[in-house]
């Protein structure tokens, strides 16, 4: 080729608004849908897909928060046990209020959940930023703490939600609006707001800058402490929202609620195209990542090839392949 115009070395092909880095997870998702269909045509049935996507909503919502944390250069391993803890607090609160407030205990409980989430996120953020502790270790610590608190609150057993509230609360998970399940709507709303914040506000820029290069960010007048702490608080809020949707599905908080969610969440974020070392976050990629994970699990149930013992192995292989698709589609 030699059609380059004279004396303007900058006039190389312009950047596309669409980037392949963003497309990666969606390609992986598409590949998975095709494979799924080949394995079992039911896979693409509306009921099945709707179920799967509804389920992926929790991880998606939490992972949207994790996108902030990871983008800003942090990491949060405590999200799973934080979810359990928030669920526990919320149910205890609702149950205590149900006799006097009736169904009003539900919205009040939601507020409590949100406050708890914000507080937990703040705690994580402060330990990481002010305490200057490696996020991996700091949040591993708080993971133990939240997990212990829910175990303590439940005396090692379960905290079920009050029967009187059950039916009133059910629609939050099982209801639909315009045919679309509410958790899907909630997660879309969360993702939309999050991508607005991350891409369209000053804070979003600060976040990406703090994760991309701390020094540069600091010299540009960005407070790393504040930016990263806020990211953890956003994470806390997202966990709370997920917990709110989660309560009616399982109707109880137990010490095993949310175990290993942190791994799924981080996997979703990374499959979605956000680098673990920080920098630009990809909210919609993250959402696609969460759906991919849930689809893989679903595929394992719908297919009959795999010995029960080997499910985890096949899942591992598929995740690695999904990452390869994501990587090489760039």
């Amino acid at each position: 080729m030699s059609t380059v115009t004279q004396s303007a070395p900058s006039r190389r092909p312009r950047d596309f608004a669409f980037s392949w880095a963003d497309a990666g997870p969606f390609l992986a998702l598409a590949a998975l849908l095709v494979i799924g269909f080949l394995v079992n045509p039911d896979f693409l049935s509306v009921t099945n897909l709707s179920n799967v996507i509804t389920r992926s909503a929790f991880i998606a919502i939490i992972a949207v928060g994790a996108t902030f944390v990871i983008s800003s250069g942090g990491l949060d391993l405590s999200v799973g046990s934080m979810a359990a803890f928030i669920t526990g607090i919320t149910i205890l609160f609702m149950n205590a209020m149900a006799p006097s407030w009736g169904a009003w205990a539900i919205p009040a409980g939601m507020v409590v959940a949100l406050m708890t989430g914000l507080a937990c996120g703040l705690a994580n953020g402060v330990i990481v930023t002010v305490g200057k502790i490696e996020p991996f270790i700091a949040t591993l610590g708080t993971m133990g703490i939240f997990r212990a608190l829910i175990t303590y609150m439940s005396d090692g057993g379960t905290i079920p939600i009050d029967r009187t509230l059950r039916e009133a609360y059910r629609p939050v998970y099982f209801g639909t609006v315009g045919g679309i399940p509410i958790p899907i709507l909630v997660s879309l709303a969360v993702a939309a707001i999050a991508s607005f914040i991350l891409y369209k506000t000053k804070y979003g820029r600060k976040c990406a800058a703090a994760g991309a290069n701390e020094d540069v960010a600091r010299y540009s007048g960005i407070s790393i402490v504040r930016t990263r702490t806020i990211a953890y608080v956003v994470q806390g809020a997202c966990v709370a929202i997920a917990a709110i949707c989660y309560v009616p599905r399982l109707g109880a908080a137990t010490p095993t609620t949310g175990v290993l969610w942190e791994l799924q969440v981080i996997t979703a974020v990374v499959i979605g195209g956000t680098a673990l070392r920080g920098g630009k976050g990809h909210i919609w990629g993250t959402v696609a990542g969460a759906v991919i994970l849930e689809l893989i699990a679903n595929l394992m149930v719908l297919s009959d090839f795999v010995s029960e013992y080997l499910v985890a192995a096949v899942q591992g292989v598929i995740i690695i392949i999904a990452m390869l698709i994501q990587r090489f589609s760039k």
Binding site: V4, P9, A217
Partner: protein, 519 residues
Amino acid sequence: MVPRDANATSKAASGACLLRTRGLSKQYGPVTVLSNVSIEIEAGEIHAIIGENGAGKSTLMRLISGYVDPSAGSLEIEGHAVSFATPHEAQDAGIVLVHQEILLADGLTVAENLFLGRELTRNGVVDDRRMQQIAADKLAELGCHVSPNRLVRDVALADRQLVQIARALLDDYKLVIFDEPTAVLTGNEVERLLDIVLRLKERNIGVLYISHRLDEVQRLADKVTVLRDGKMVGTYPGRTLSQMDMAELMVGRELSALYPPKSDAKPGEPMLRVMNATVPGYVEDVSFTAHKGEILGLAGMVGAGRTELFEGLVGLRPASARIELNGVPLHIRSQREAIDAGIGYLTEDRKAKGLLLQERLAPNLTLSALGRFHPGLYLRKRRETAALAEAVAQYDIRLKSLKVTAGQLSGGNQQKLLLAKILLTDPSVVIIDEPTRGIDIANKAQIYTFIRKLVGQGKACIVISSEMQELIGLCDRILIMRQGRINGEVSGEQMTETNIALFATADTEGGQAAVGGRA
């Protein structure tokens, strides 16, 4: 002859000048890197700071702009005492620093970097379109045409420097500090930058300007402050100083000629032969030969693809080429193989690709040549220390303590360490990308002599440089690249700035034409 200290004759020091430093000092642990520096900058004045590598220029600038706290001394702006806890406070007070080293976030776009920390918003929403527009305009003013939504990671070093400069020009500051802004720029952009600096002056903005290119200093400076070994030598009215005066004030002794005499001997047999080199996206079908005992120069504008060509040849990026060394065909797939074959490449990006900034000096020095210090089972640290001592002496690396990390060396001394590092691998073909970037004039002469000595020993040396003077003074022959091709070749009498500039900018008939060069 050296003129008298200008401050002695200047008007009463009580006038509210734009910035005044009083007895600024800086110590790192037991070492003093700057002591008792007092300078004054007026509004609308271009004040140059010159000094040898490690003299403390950058340190002084960091003190003034809030990146580093002084150990002693104070700052005054327009007569009011100030102190800055962060660079941002300094910026709020109207002082901005363009760093010697590039400080941008790699993973963000050009426009995002430009506006980092002060994004334009409309109704609380960042206004990307407007920022990109302004970024493109500002960059165009500087002669930089990269797309504002390109990732900084993907743009050339010179463009990054321009982005950094544009950043400092975005707001209205009272004092703009340039720390070696032209080190990575080529002719055209330098001219544009000097223009802009003069325009700042017209707008009554104060400028502090650091450069090792004394011609620039001479053209710009109203006043020149000379630092030597952390201490002030004096402040002088700019126009009264010749370049030679400045050099002598910096060094404290008389200097010999900058460039070593060129050898009269005929260049030896071909040593490195490159045929049909292509680096996808950057370089297309380039062929050339470097001869034994020859210094071969590579000229070109930013983006001509010189760096990419050689990175491709030594296996650092995907490329295809037929390479022969002393007549033997080579297949180089990695930098290691290049080093082992005897081809050393010194990168232009010392900070990001050259040195481990957090590491001590010895491990940095020996990183490419570990085998030499590893005769049996383990690394001989003593030999490494000895090699460092030798390198420090040979390349005149100025440091206050051998315990510093590479990142704590001054910019020019980092460059010398990098040169020492690559030569430790004992290459027979040495490719140096921007050999004297950020190096003071006395040391430049030293490095030139050194390169001449290298080829005298029967090596071949390829010098990529954006300073035409340097190429002309040093090289035996110069290739000029343009848009990924070799556009011309000059040697002997034909090596003039006009000729080089011609080949660097204009398309020539039939691609390569040799102006008075050998056949």
